[in-house]
Symmetry: C2
Subunit: 501 residues, 2 copies
């Protein structure tokens, strides 16, 4: 007769295996699946998600968890496993299997509709799907139950950023917006750096090769992962030994491939660095999406848009694109990759304007969940708000409300984790610089391994042993705040643009 | 309250979804999975297979099946669904979940060991894995139970070729061997046709493009499937709308890619032609592996190695390889693709020697299951028998006992279905020629659609509505026999080699 712990372990492993299978099927849908395979894929994903839900909510697992929660002899990691699975289970038991299945099937169809709508720049193709997804998500939020003193949105937020609340985010985001809008104003009004050389032709095959060199330098292990192309870049961590990134390549936008590579590799390094001794347990995972995003943004912006990074990588890039980069000086290149612009596209946005894209999405999805905003009014409100905050109006829905896949995936409450990630990233990088003597000199020499080692120890290895904010606090000495981010942006861009901020 | 039929339907659909997910994970393991992802993949497949087994053997499904089996009001297709699921379930209930899980995990590891062993040409790396797989398969055969008057092997054979028995196959195979060995002797002793032009350099990228043109001409729909590369070609039918083929390409062996394409596309067309109105039911599947193989072999050999086919495709091939094919006459090319040779490799074997490779495997796995042959003696016995039947000795285990992936997958009892497929293919093509006026003229013009339409109607559309032999009988007027195959080979090769047979 296996012990209570072994029985729990076995169930936890099974849940991880199901999540891994779902991960591969989802990744395949975005990369290699034949066009007409979508119906079967929706059904397969629906079935696997229903089974995972059924396993997680099984009364037997509940009994095992209650028994183990009362067991004083568990080790720290064992206790964290029980706590994590219990948190996930308590949420899951509140949602009927039928609703889980409905959501999964709707998601797959919505993703296909979104793709078509985006291509045709026609929100109308996607809007009935979004409407249905919203209805399901509202129903789910109500089933989770509104946390005390909170609101419906919090119930969804908990699924991405455990313990975070609108009540805490809204004032932080207001403060952020308070200094970001004038900063963007000041920078966007200054004479822009030249970036004509970034609009030349960069052979896609060579972009691909350069992206693989970046992956290699960052320490992403291609024996334990891969990189492919998809419409929207993403990372799928199936296991520390099977981590899949996707990027997109545009012939005349070379930065897109470069920064999607660095961004996704930041996620990928986190996934490859999760605690392997806790494979097939709840600890081999990130404690929050915001912490996950901190890893992608740290690499993308704090490292990938820094002068030391390009001192090392521009010469390497020139090898692939000698003509396009002829006569381009390092400082011009550095200025160009940090060009602040009023762009309508989030994933192409610079790090100064980026969070304004998020604050907009946060407010809109909050309004939709509160039933203060109708889906059909979404494109209008979106465009209006873009004008107001960013001073730019999307030319069509494709570069407006349809640009992101998240809502098609039914993800509501996810967007704020991007800004949380940016704030954590600034604090973590600040702490890394203080902890690693000569860090920027290492980067200048292309030696990115010292930074990775620090992140492995401080952020990756804990996995889900601690809550996200505790991981950050133990690495940096402080919790979620916009102070380091403000100091970073003002320092960097004040100098770069010669603007007093 | 859903009806008995609806509850059964739902369970059947779930089983198909699980099979589809397992299919994608298996395909991914052979195509795109990162090298070190194998441990996680074994676990995921183990879990999904255990869940599928648990669902299939659930007592509730048993009760539903018994109720429905007694229901006189079911339609023909409904009755066949109940019969098929009941057959599968009755087999599955006999195997404990633990054994299913053990097999699945062993398979994944064995496949990796086989890959390494094959690369290093060292059977010793693979043999302990094979030994364990054999022990599991023996245990499973005993659990299934030996059919009355039969033997252990029959219990496994039933899983691939329902109702087939050693008692029936062994004499048929002996008869086949009786006329094949002298035929091979006569042909291999005759002056061989020139094939120097098939040993020139054929650019792999152009081979890939030509293979896609062949797929297109055959009517394989790339919106409902894809083609990739893997170490060993295979077809994975996940759904009629998601069918995946793999081929392999060798720079100086152009026929390998061509015939693996035609062969796998034969399987793929069958999968795409399964009854779509019965998607997510037990009928949307082949009734036997032998019938499946008849489709690949019909296209590969009866069509793909025929003069009319190359009258159409050689000019197209010349467009890709003008230099390699300069001065190569059609009749020389036709003779070269039908060159009979004593080769140690099954998948590169011509259609005359091919079945001798199968008969050897059949006899060896029969001996291993009967515990008359020890795994460690396998390479020796293999090589000896190759010399005797085919007059050739493998240079190493890589081109000997390690050449096929099947045993690494734990598939024992599968090989004879290849020969069954060859025999069915000859009978089906003979019937097609009689039924379609001017069929060879259509092929000569590159119009392969009339043949596909006939196969769709006679073979693909029934799915698992009827047993394999009934499908063949209703299309050809006869059951499994070597008569048509003998007439075909003797006619074709007698003329080609100018040999009296």
């Amino acid at each position: 007769m296996p012990s209570t712990w072994d029985r729990f372990s076995q169930r936890m492993a099974e849940l991880r295996d199901l999540a891994g299978a779902i991960g591969i099927l989802t990744w395949d849908q975005e990369t290699f699946m034949p066009k007409r395979g979508v119906a079967a894929r929706s059904e397969q994903l629906g079935t696997l998600q229903a089974i995972a839900h059924e396993r997680l909510t099984a009364p037997e697992l509940g009994e095992l968890l209650e028994k183990l929660a009362a067991n004083k002899k568990l080790s720290g990691p064992q206790h964290a496993m029980v706590r994590s699975v219990r948190f996930d289970r308590q949420r899951a038991v509140k949602i009927p299997g039928k609703l889980v299945r409905e959501l999964a099937e709707r998601q797959s169809h919505a993703v296909e509709a979104w793709k078509e709508a985006r291509e045709k720049k026609a929100f109308g193709i996607f809007s009935p799907h979004l409407d249905k997804l919203l209805a399901i998500r509202r129903e789910m939020a109500d089933a989770y139950g509104v946390p005390k003193g909170g609101e419906r949105y919090d119930a969804l937020l908990d699924g991405y950023e455990e313990g975070m609340r609108v009540k805490r985010l809204a004032p932080l985001f207001e403060r952020l917006k308070g200094w970001l809008v004038p900063l963007v104003q000041a920078l966007a009004d200054a004479p822009p750096p030249r970036d004509d050389f970034l609009k030349r032709r960069y052979d896609p095959d060579k972009q691909w090769l350069f992206s693989l060199e970046i992956l290699d330098a960052m320490g992403f292990d291609l024996d334990r992962g891969r990189q492919d192309r998809s419409a929207h870049p993403f990372t799928m961590g199936v296991d520390p030994d099977d981590v899949r990134l996707t990027i997109r390549i545009f012939e005349e936008l070379p930065l897109s491939a470069i920064f999607s590579t660095i961004h996704e590799a930041g996620h990928g390094l986190y996934e490859q660095g999760l605690p392997r001794e806790h494979r097939r347990t709840a600890l081999c995972a990130a404690p929050s999406m915001g912490l996950h995003e901190s890893q992608s943004r740290l690499w993308e912006n704090l490292v990938g848009r820094s002068m030391p990074f390009w001192e090392s990588f521009l010469p390497q890039m020139r090898v692939h694109f000698p003509e396009a980069l002829a006569n381009v000086r390092l400082r011009d290149f550095y200025a160009a990759v940090n060009r602040v612009e009023r762009s309508p596209i989030r994933v192409e946005a610079d790090e100064v304007t980026y969070n304004l894209h998020i604050l907009l999405r946060f407010d809109l999805e909050l309004a939709m969940l509160r039933e203060e905003l109708d889906v059909t009014d979404l494109p209008g409100v979106w465009n209006e708000r873009m004008s107001k905050d960013l001073g730019v109006k999307p030319k069509n829905d494709g570069e407006g409300v349809l640009q992101d896949i998240h809502w098609a995936w039914g993800e509501l409450g996810y967007f704020p984790t991007y800004t949380i990630g940016n704030l954590y990233a600034a604090s973590l990088y600040d702490a890394a610089k203080r902890s690693i003597p000569g860090l920027e000199e290492h980067i200048r020499q292309g030696r990115l391994a010292t930074l990775l080692a620090w992140l492995r120890e401080k952020v990756h290895t804990p996995g889900r042993l601690l809550p996200a904010e505790e991981v950050v606090r133990s690495a940096t000495g402080k919790g979620l705040d916009d102070g380091d981010f403000k100091a970073y942006l003002e320092g960097k861009y004040g100098t770069l643009y010669g603007v007093k901020v």
